[in-house]
Amino acid sequence: MKYFAGIDIGSTAIKIVLIDESGNIVAYQISPTGSHFQRNTLECLATLLARTGIKKEGVAYMISTGYGRKLFKEADESISEITANAVGAQMIGKAYGTVKTIINIGGQDSKVILIDDAGHVKNFTMNDKCAAGTGRFLEMTARNLGVEVDELGDLHLNAKGTPLNINSTCTVFAESEIISLLANSHEREEIIAGVHYSIARRIVRLAKRIGIEDMVFFDGGPAMNRGLVASMEDELMRSIIVPEIPQITTALGAAVIARESFLAEGEKVHA
């Protein structure tokens, strides 16, 4: 039995997905990237293989993606995370509907990808110049409010009053704004909701540059935040698809492409 690996080396986390010859997900592993991502990626891979009992030789083809892809030499090939995300999202999204737009919020960047019926990238736009509207913004918010990042969603949904407007576009200045809101005894839940709406509005502005088409698929770590999802649906004015494990879509896409590449090569050799 042959296996294929997709390795997404993000700024915050490393995601690895293993699929088998038939294209089914066997297992996945998520580890923090840290500062030594070459070493941490190898460790993450080793952990995953040990957990599943698969040997390194059993992995026929590996594709790396994400911002650290070029420097991870062990992979057989590297592709951009845009292409990988598109493939992964289209595959998972099939169960919910036809995906035409993918919104990905990562640790340090956000992207919007338009795909056609065959799952090919039609157009895309990225915000990779600043951290506003990314995972960092949420981390900063959680830190200042003394909560964990994964509590933010529930806190938002428990808010009783109207969300507060966060006016600063820059993460660093927004921090000062949040601190002064707290000092004026505003409710934590309303501040968190305001942060979520601020992120959602930024993303929608980004997406409008290339157009939004139904169905919209939302992935990346922050998609686990139910409060953020609610704000996104409000700002996009439509319901959106959120997969069960939103962090691994891109790595899954890379693994699928790895499988396709390997099988295509094999056909060429046998032909």
């Binding site: 951009s80 292409t83 990238v121 039609k122 895309f124 990225m126």
Partner: protein, 424 residues
């Protein structure tokens, strides 16, 4: 004290410029194997250009120009030599940023920076600087340079080129320019001199057309990054020497084609590069594109094809016919977005896509250039109806965004390759 400070600025900027040029030349020559031998002439030309500004000295009078609407035929006929000043150096861009607004075009900042740092040298060297009234930033640049002591001639350009009024306005403007040139150089533009200079430039342009046509074939025998160097050299090189060097290059390329040598992979996506100009040493995007597996087969930028493509012709070899004929060539087929109603640019791009078998278009716009920024939607829509994908990139001269740009370009290449595979 002031002089010492100026000298220091000059020295540091010269070092930055030399480092920038060296890095670009290194990428161009070392990252791509199999460069044509004839390109050696151009590589060493640029090496000299960035380290030794003295090579601009000429026994004839030098006329500085900006943009591509200044009629070079008239300058040669008046016994002077034109040199295009538009700069591509980030080193100069940073100097120019000190007295230009933040959101302004890198090209204008760099040119201003260059003229500022080497002010006294250029004021002596250039008899006059001719700036056509094309875009807003060029117009105001001419004012700033006047204040610094440069002799500026504003070549009046209409904003509408399709009407009779615009055409006649431009013909009168060029005629006045011819009269001024005669005064500056002290040499009369006679009909024999004008015929000779028209023919001289025609020879250069026809060699360029040879190069242009060679790239229509598949596989391609030369990288786009090399072609940009060739056309950039036209800015300042002696025209007859340039024509000879290009002839040698064309001959070598034809030899390569008949031997079946190609520079790129057969499946490399064929790219049409449009938008804000590529000027040495800022070959950031073309190098990224070709390193990511694409090949630039043609372009529509004012530092390359648009500069050399169109020809002058005339009916009678008399000044009253030739001067309006020269004027017409610099106005009517010009696809610069500074003109209102730029239908001709869309038509040209449509035809280029067809003739070159283009897979995708990459549209570069310098941040702050409203003309290119505003036109990109219309161009993208037109290309979409023809089924050609376009990647729009807003950037400037700084090297900081190289990492982000490479992700986008790679994604674009991957999507082009996937489309090709699906088409079978």
């Amino acid at each position: 004290m002031e002089i010492e400070r100026l000298e220091r600025i000059k020295k540091t900027t010269a070092i930055h410029l030399a480092m920038e040029a060296k890095e670009t030349l290194k990428k161009i020559t070392e990252d791509f194997p199999d460069n044509p031998d004839a390109m050696g002439y151009f590589y060493s030309l640029f090496h000299k250009f960035c380290t030794d500004r003295g090579m601009l000295n000429s026994s004839k009078k030098l006329i500085g120009t900006m943009c591509l609407q200044v009629p070079y035929e008239l300058i040669y006929a008046a016994g002077a030599v034109p040199v295009r000043l538009c700069s591509g150096a980030y080193a100069y861009d940073q100097i120019g940023a000190e007295f230009m607004p933040t959101k302004s075009c890198s090209l204008v900042k760099a040119t201003l920076g260059m003229l500022n740092v080497n002010q006294s040298q250029y004021i002596d060297l250039l008899d006059v600087v001719v700036i056509p009234t094309t875009c807003d930033q060029k117009k105001k640049t001419s004012d700033m340079l006047k204040d610094k002591g440069f002799r500026i001639y504003n070549l009046e350009m209409p904003s509408v080129k399709d009407t009779e009024e615009g055409r006649l306005y431009w013909q009168r403007s060029v005629k006045k320019f011819a009269l001024t040139l005669q005064k500056v150089t002290g040499q009369k533009i006679t009909k024999r001199r004008l015929v000779e200079s028209i023919k001289k430039i025609s020879r250069a342009r026809s060699e360029f057309r040879r190069l242009y046509n060679l790239r229509k074939q598949s596989p391609v025998s030369i990288w786009g990054k090399d072609v940009f160097l060739v056309t950039n050299a036209y800015f300042f090189d002696d025209i007859e020497r340039w024509t000879d060097a290009l002839t040698k290059l064309n001959n070598e390329l034809e030899g390569r084609i008949s031997e079946g040598i190609s520079v790129a992979n057969r499946h490399a996506p064929r790219i049409l590069f449009v938008g804000s100009p590529v000027i040495f040493p800022n070959l950031k995007l073309p190098i990224l594109i070709e390193q990511s597996g694409g090949i630039i087969v043609t372009d529509e930028v004012c530092s390359s094809s648009r500069l050399l493509y169109d020809f002058v012709t005339f009916d009678e070899a008399n000044l009253y016919d030739m001067i309006p004929a020269v004027a017409d060539r610099y106005l009517k087929p010009c696809t610069c977005p500074c003109f209102v109603k730029n239908e001709d640019r869309k038509r040209k791009l449509k035809e280029m896509v067809k003739e070159f078998g283009v897979d995708g278009v990459i549209y570069q716009a310098f941040s702050g250039c409203h003309l290119y920024e505003m036109e990109h939607k219309a161009v993208g829509a037109m290309l979409e109806t023809d089924g050609i994908p376009m990647l729009y990139i807003e950037t400037d001269y700084s090297p900081e965004d190289t990492g982000q740009l490479s992700t986008r370009i790679e994604a674009f290449m991957e999507s082009l390759k996937a489309r090709r595979r699906n088409r079978g």
